[in-house]
């Protein structure tokens, strides 16, 4: 069984699996998981927040890998895949930021902190938004634009550790109000629920990525058909 055959199974396997996992995750996160002693019920946001963050990293790595593959193979299907994954990544980044601030308000007292991780996530969002804006503002079949955007995605992805490091230094070299270190180590039950949530959300992300890639591939195909139709009509007249 090769990779293509496995990919063909995506419509049969991913949606039901992801759906069931998500429902299970909601039940586990809201009912089964014990209430955190210090933070109370708000802590349950962790079960959507952390998986969303990991899913966005997953999606952006797919974008970076597909961009490298596009540069190597010059096949537009990799460009489509990179774009589809980038959209999914952006959505999960946004969800991470929103659920994070909703957790931050009752716990920290503010929605937004210039904490290294939050700042890095925000900049990740900006970089891949810029990537998509650049890619979508030129025609889909433009080889030059696809190459440029692939390079941009790779550079952006490689910039992330540097951004994280700089923001961390920036915050820690400054005097700042001490934020109580919460959740030093999660109890076993919580850890299990977290792991399950991560699995569920990654499955959903994978499903979304295949759908997004499908959309981009269809757009490519439509473009080609339009060109053919144009030639045919002009031949006729």
């Amino acid at each position: 069984m090769n990779l293509n055959n496995i990919y063909e199974l995506r419509w049969k396997v991913l949606p039901p699996l992801a759906g069931v996992a998500m429902i299970g995750m909601a039940a586990l996160a809201l009912v089964t998981a014990p209430t955190e002693v210090i933070e109370g019920d708000v802590q349950r946001l962790l079960y959507v927040h952390l998986p969303s963050a990991l899913a966005s990293y997953f999606a952006f790595s797919v974008t970076a890998v597909c961009s490298i593959l596009f540069l190597l193979k010059r096949d537009f299907k990799w460009d489509s895949a990179a774009q589809g994954a980038a959209v999914v990544g952006l959505i999960f980044t946004l969800l991470t930021l929103i659920t994070g601030s909703l957790w931050g308000k009752p716990i920290w007292g503010v929605y937004w902190q210039w904490d290294p991780r939050i700042t890095t996530t925000l900049i990740l969002f900006l970089i891949f938004s810029a990537y998509l804006i650049a890619r979508k503002s030129s025609s889909l079949d433009s080889d030059k634009s696809a190459r440029f955007c692939s390079i941009y995605a790779i550079i952006g992805f490689l910039d992330i550790p540097l951004i994280h490091m700089s923001v961390r230094w920036w915050r820690t070299l400054h005097p700042q109000p001490i934020i109580a270190k919460l959740n030093p180590a999660l109890p076993d039950e919580m850890l299990l629920v977290t792991l399950f949530s991560v699995l569920a959300v990654i499955l959903v992300a994978a499903w979304f990525i295949t759908l997004g890639v499908e959309t981009e591939l269809l757009s490519q195909r439509l473009l080609k058909l339009r060109a053919i139709a144009k030639i045919n009509i002009s031949e006729k007249s």
């Binding site: 946001l45 969800l95 929103i98 909703l102 957790w103 979304f208 757009s219 439509l222």
Partner: protein, 49 residues
């Protein structure tokens, strides 16, 4: 807002966001597919003529 309020808001945004994206994608794919079918029909018919 109470603690439960924040929890509810977080989960609501999370689920709503994913469902919205799913619906948008489905509509997009359906639109693209119908346009492709239409064009393919036109091209085929044209070839026959």
């Amino acid at each position: 807002m109470s603690e439960i309020g924040f929890l509810f808001a977080g989960f609501a945004v999370f689920w709503a966001g994913m469902f919205t994206y799913l619906v948008i994608l489905q509509v997009k794919i359906r639109n693209l597919q119908s346009q492709i079918d239409l064009l393919e029909n036109i091209i085929e018919n044209h070839d026959e003529v």
